[in-house]
Symmetry: C2
Subunit: 340 residues, 2 copies
Amino acid sequence: MAKITIKKIAHDLKLAVSTVSKALSDSHEIGTDTKQRVLDYANQMNYVRNAYASSLKNSRTGNIAVVIPEVADSFFALAINGIETIAQEKKSHVLIYLTQENQAKEKSIMEDFRNGRVDGILISVAGGNTSYPHIRDLQERNIPIVFFDRVAQGVTSPRVVTDDFESGYKATHHLLEKGCKRIDFLSLSGNLSIIDARLEGYKKAISDRGESASRSHVIVCTNDNVHNENILASLLERKENRPDGIIASVEKLTLITYTVCTRLGISIPDEMKVVGFTSLPSAALLQPSLTTITQPAFEIGQTAAKLLFELLEKKSKQSPNKMVLLPSLLHERGSTQIKT
Amino acid sequence: MAKITIKKIAHDLKLAVSTVSKALSDSHEIGTDTKQRVLDYANQMNYVRNAYASSLKNSRTGNIAVVIPEVADSFFALAINGIETIAQEKKSHVLIYLTQENQAKEKSIMEDFRNGRVDGILISVAGGNTSYPHIRDLQERNIPIVFFDRVAQGVTSPRVVTDDFESGYKATHHLLEKGCKRIDFLSLSGNLSIIDARLEGYKKAISDRGESASRSHVIVCTNDNVHNENILASLLERKENRPDGIIASVEKLTLITYTVCTRLGISIPDEMKVVGFTSLPSAALLQPSLTTITQPAFEIGQTAAKLLFELLEKKSKQSPNKMVLLPSLLHERGSTQIKT
């Protein structure tokens, strides 16, 4: 395929090379008619601009990055779908990067953005971080960053979150109302904003009930599912002091709770009531159907993407303290039903 | 932050600008000692190369693209995890692009790759395509492409697939063995290689049984879940000629089958037996647990990524007919159990 250059287009249309170049960049210096003529001819000739070359001149790449811990989680899958609807309107490409809940990987990905690969970043941070130099570094370079769901604690940037404290409270209160005497909170190791807030809500609900939330009721899980199953099995195999209620603070811990209860022959909800933080489409179809705290994942993605494009289009700084809070809902189902 | 340029590094180290530039590009023209001196100093000064500028000179971007219809599907979520393990070894970034099962979007994404955004592409094509000029175009530009799972029919490129025909056969044979008299096949509209093969397997199993596979037993669904629920509900509400077995050829149709049966009070497996093509982690936890055809999603992703890096590293053409076939497994569970 013969390569069509700006020079060739300029020659064929009897225009200056600079005129063609400016027309192709949609410069205000060029009249509409000329612009249209150049674009029509370029399309006709199947002319392709070099993205990198034009990126050097324009400051935009047409890409936004979505940096998330994993895709095998319904919250992120739905949030991505929300982000996509907005990006499509803006004719931007969404590039999804996975940190695999690994801080070093998150750092490496973010460092790569220093070089101008993307216009802006939507991020839900990996667990385990205690400081965020890689995020501050991009902020210093004026690359817009919007947090969604999991925010970097101590870093000021626009954010879209849900009411994690209230949800933790609601889930615990619900289990107490259903008669649970000992409720264990399955947490995820790392320094995650969302888990911390859910845990605080749990503790508050317990203490509001006049009981003290001893640390022993918080079970810290990791990203190793086999390890988590073992922790949970040793907890549930106990004869004494076994929980009769579990709050699974992230989706994967919900499914593990079901798996371990099934394996050990512990009946949900008769012997164990379960509330899971999840947007799983199959929640209502599980055996028994699962009571969930469901985040508005799609809307969180959409709202975060809108905030990012506002930052990009104004080319001015939005209030860095901007926070949008979208509430989660408790869906009561079979896993917390009282025996009749 | 003061900008560190190649010129500044050259000045400080008393080297020619071209020497520094070549050292940073790891050119064989520069000796190891000098290279190390330049790299150490550049790191010390926190020097960042402009990705676009260096991409113009080098031919590699360090990015590979994964183009898939959606992420809210366990097959793709697991395949991505497989791809990530290989990309991490190769220190490549994985950029995930979603076509949302939309041919125009797939075309637009692929056109964008003409400009050199990525080194190579792993793709599972969107439904609805009947020809693939956007893929052939990239092939002509020598951008390596590996298909995984859903291949572009009629396009020659390395591919990693599963035994869809055999799986369709196996699923149908299993339902026949369990006594089903009328098995309906839930298909997805579009020209999808995987669905076509699964359907052929289904037809063959029916005809091997001495029955004829009339077209009426194939229910063509779309990407609109509400529409699919309505189609399925009107099928299952019938008093006469209702199927007693269903093969859901993709994951989302499996969950819809469960939802509609629950709503209509049709008991699975007593009145309706179900086999779903899915890698859902919750399959064993559904009510009842789901008999599945499970693809080796993680391995498919890994293998496809390995093939792509072989193409990239050899910088030579691998056999374009290369095909790796990884078999799927039938997991028998509650949804196809015979009443005892």
